[in-house]
């Protein structure tokens, strides 16, 4: 066994025995996300590298501390990509952090999320056991789908050491179109278009303008461009990158940023402050000091939930980062934490305060 894994297993053992908390951290690019990290730092960045990459199998296996940028560069060389366009949010972002955070970028509504591409994981559980789940194949229903459960678990269930991902070819062609319209009109159009076989890869509405990215075969993109109209946007790559990495001016400044996930057909959320719509209407970003209780009630009515995505520590502690769970789900969460990490070693309180 690798020396690094041995060392981690020993640390997890010790922490479990001493009742200590460990804070799993890759590049630290997503330290802002979730409740404020606590515990002794466990840095994963030393455990890195691509273990195997088979472009014709559409599968790559990497160590969790591998920089996301390094993985994406290797894929690009073979004309492939992580289609869900995970945000880096910083130069050091790692693949382990990408899976643990479970965040997906602009193409999510069209191609699926991180969890949809996770095929296998190796992890160290809270008792120091090194376990492997899933595998390196596309279809695998042996045992519970623990790999996908890890996506978005914020490191609360285990220390990911190795991850296998499905990858896809880069789209052949792309084009970006822009339309002047209100939020209501944009939501209506996006949902109508969503029901047609159009190669819409991403969408964004902000400040009276709807921007739509097409991606696919040359012929499909050309035909969709004819069908949809709008104005072609040159050099749109930078625009989509600014959404993915939240460097767009909408995300600038210190006022709280809420992420509201809703059914795509939900009407505008009618909250004070500005709104940015993504994912065909299914992801709404809101800025400002909003009433958390009210916003979460609206989000629930719209079939979703609201996350205090970026805010100061005091606000996060006061209203909680994530939407509170129903009593049944909260119990299942506590039980699962108990199943994977009974001593509460990993990322204590990062998702919900009670574990």
């Amino acid at each position: 066994m690798d020396a690094q894994l041995k060392e981690w297993i020993a640390r997890v053992h010790d922490a479990a025995e001493a009742g200590k908390a460990l804070c799993i951290r890759g590049g630290g690019s997503k330290d802002f996300y979730g409740a404020v990290p606590v515990g002794e730092l466990l840095d994963t960045t030393g455990y890195r590298g691509i273990v195997s990459y088979e472009p014709t199998e559409l599968v790559v296996t990497v160590r969790a501390g591998t920089p996301l940028a390094e993985l994406e560069a290797a894929l690009k060389e073979k004309g492939q990509c992580l289609p869900f366009e995970p945000p880096h949010f910083g130069a050091g972002a790692t693949v382990g952090g990408m899976v643990a955070a479970g965040l997906s970028g602009p193409r999510r509504a069209a191609v699926g999320a991180v969890r949809d591409y996770v095929l296998g994981v190796k992890l160290i559980d809270g008792k120091g056991g090194l376990l492997a789940f899933g595998g390196q194949v596309m279809k695998n229903v042996a045992g519970y789908d623990v790999p996908r459960l890890m996506a978005g678990s914020l490191g609360t269930l285990g220390l990911l050491t190795e991850i296998s991902l499905k990858v896809l070819p880069l789209p052949m062609a792309g084009m970006t179109l822009r339309f002047a319209m209100t939020e209501t009109e944009a939501l209506k159009k996006l949902n109508e278009w969503g029901g047609k076989p159009l190669p819409i890869a991403a969408s964004a509405w902000c400040d009276g303008a709807l921007t739509v990215r097409l991606a696919g075969a040359f012929a499909a993109v050309r035909a969709a461009r004819e069908a949809l109209g709008g104005e072609e946007v040159a050099d749109a790559g930078a625009f989509w990158q600014s959404l993915r990495e939240q460097t767009h001016p909408f995300f600038a400044g210190d006022s709280p940023l809420w992420r509201v996930a809703v059914a795509s057909v939900s009407p505008p959320l009618a909250q004070p402050g500005s709104t940015f719509v993504e994912w065909g209407g299914a992801q709404r970003w809101l800025r400002g000091e909003l009433d958390a209780g009210q916003l979460r009630a609206i989000a629930a009515q719209c079939g979703g939930h609201a996350t205090l995505f970026r805010a100061d520590a005091e606000s996060k502690a006061r209203v909680g980062v994530f939407q509170p769970l129903s009593p049944v789900l909260a119990r299942l969460h506590r039980n699962l934490k108990q199943a994977f990490d009974p001593a509460g070693v990993f990322n204590r309180g990062r998702m919900y305060p009670d574990y």
Partner: protein
């Protein structure tokens, strides 16, 4: 063959029957042997067990009350949909109750704008697509049994189909599952939004084989129906070449709508049955489908043809109309019943392997076929490496079922050794429960048990399925010991 469930429960039949009869009208509780007999197995008919009682609830309230009663009295419970499953996942427990969801068969809502359907678990897979068709939408996962299998079972097994390389498995096409925990509490996993707060429990409900919760309602995503689909039939004089051609297609950056392979014994079994017009001299045929707008399809078909020709296809046939396309697919989709026509019984294996190991696997299967003296035809979801060897046997010949089972076990053990899995889409059920020990360590099996206990502490939901007891794992390792292939070092 009777399956000896090693998880037994001391159940007072009269007591649980009384409780269930208080919850349901008389005709929805079956307890006489002749009424129970039809429920003794699922699609895996080789394994059977008679339940104590079968209940057929019609409302969620009834489901909740049934669960509460079973939980209180510690009675095991097996949820059941259309029972088309091929791994015995819905086979009853001899001390327990079968909870049939056959009466939950309403399509509650088709919403073309949000592209979702809300359906009860007893709705047939194909019925969802039929209901969505007027809006130009369909439900993408299409297991071969889609005429009969139901959505609840699809979720429980995380079913695939012939188009899942491009359109995903069940887990990729379900937004929300409503159901009940073993203690009778209503619960929702997922959301109408693309994600839900907290851990992604929906991900583990998919494929949980009825071990974590009982499903009463499913919200699925609907997909716009492509304007056109065309399929290329590519024939090869060598299966290895066909396998390489699949890799070449993907290396060219093409993700076909469907990418399937059949070997010679498979085409010979299906051709007399469906008359698809397959070339019977070829060693393998690939079905490579393109879908999209007409211009898009035209562009992609040309690229596919160029790649397949270069990969050594001996001939290519492109479907010229929808009727022809469906005929070409009919052979593949009817492979199981077609094989069923030429043999009294067959076992369908379901291993997945990295595609590049296909030739090795097929060679090994040919050798095993000689070793066990049983014929085997192979159909292959080539795009995603999921292989279905169909082992033919005659249950009336003494020892043949045992030989077929041993043949199958060797195939699945080899799948693991080649870097794959014992089951790609049919589930573990009772059939492959022992083989879990070939793929997972005792520590991993224990982790699965702890996960199960997080949902069902008393272990009442579908006991004895999916995850082996540690005693079974030990027995497997001891008896298979030398025979079982040792998995490659994993850490």
């Amino acid at each position: 063959m009777a399956f000896a469930n090693d998880v037994r429960f001391p159940v007072d039949r009269r007591e649980i029957l009384g409780r269930l009869q208080a919850i349901l009208p008389r005709h929805l509780v079956l307890a006489e042997e002749e009424e129970l007999r039809p429920y003794e197995c699922d699609g895996l008919t080789a394994y059977r067990a008679l339940p104590l009682i079968v209940v057929l609830p019609e409302t969620e309230t009834q489901v909740g009350a049934i669960l509460k009663a079973c939980h209180e009295l510690k009675v095991p419970l097996v949820p059941r949909g259309a029972a088309t499953g091929l791994s015995g996942g819905a086979m009853p427990h001899e001390d327990g109750v079968v909870l049939s969801l056959a009466r939950f068969k309403k399509i509650l809502k088709i919403d073309p704008l949000s592209r979702t359907a809300v359906v009860q678990p007893g709705v047939r897979n194909l019925a969802v697509s039929e209901a969505a068709a007027p809006y130009g939408l369909y439900y993408a996962p299409d297991p071969s049994s889609q005429i009969a299998c139901t959505i609840g079972g699809n979720v429980a097994e995380n079913s695939g189909g012939v188009h899942c390389l491009k359109y995903g498995l069940t887990v990729h096409n379900v937004l929300k599952v409503r159901g009940f925990t073993i203690n009778g509490e209503a619960v929702e996993f997922g959301a109408e939004a693309l994600d839900a707060a907290g851990l992604d429990l929906l991900a583990i409900i998919n494929g949980s084989e009825g071990l974590l919760a009982v499903i009463t309602e499913v919200t699925v995503k609907l997909t716009p129906k492509p304007e056109l689909a065309q399929v290329v039939l590519a024939y090869f004089d060598d299966v290895q070449k066909a396998g390489n051609a699949v890799a070449d297609v993907i290396a060219a950056g093409i993700i076909p709508g469907g990418l399937e392979m059949m070997d010679k014994p498979a085409t010979h079994a299906v051709e007399p049955y469906v008359k698809a017009g397959y070339d019977l001299d070829a060693e393998a045929v690939l079905l490579c489908e393109s879908d999209g707008t007409p211009v898009e399809v035209a562009e992609e078909i040309e690229r596919m043809k160029a790649v397949l020709e270069k990969s050594g296809a001996t001939s290519l046939v492109v479907s010229q109309n929808e009727a022809e396309r469906l005929r070409f697919w009919a052979g593949r989709k009817a492979a199981f019943p077609a094989v069923g026509r030429i043999t009294p019984d067959y076992l369908c294996m379901d291993g997945t392997i990295p595609r590049k190991r296909l030739a090795e696997m097929l060679e090994a299967i040919a050798d095993l076929s000689v070793k066990y003296g049983l014929r085997c035809a192979n159909v292959f979801h080539a795009g995603d490496g999921n292989l279905h060897p169909l082992i033919m046997y005659d249950a009336n010949q003494p020892g043949e079922l045992e030989r077929a089972t041993a043949f199958g076990s060797e195939i699945l053990e080899l799948s693991v050794k080649l870097g794959g899995t014992i089951t790609g889409e049919h589930g573990v059920g009772v059939e492959k429960v022992d083989l879990m020990a070939a793929q997972f360590t005792p520590a991993e099996i224990s982790a699965f048990h702890r996960l199960k206990a997080a949902f069902d502490e008393k272990g009442l939901l579908n006991p004895g399925k999916g995850i082996p007891t540690l005693a079974r794992c030990r027995e497997y390792t001891q008896t298979r010991g030398a025979a079982a292939v040792t998995p490659p070092p994993r850490f």
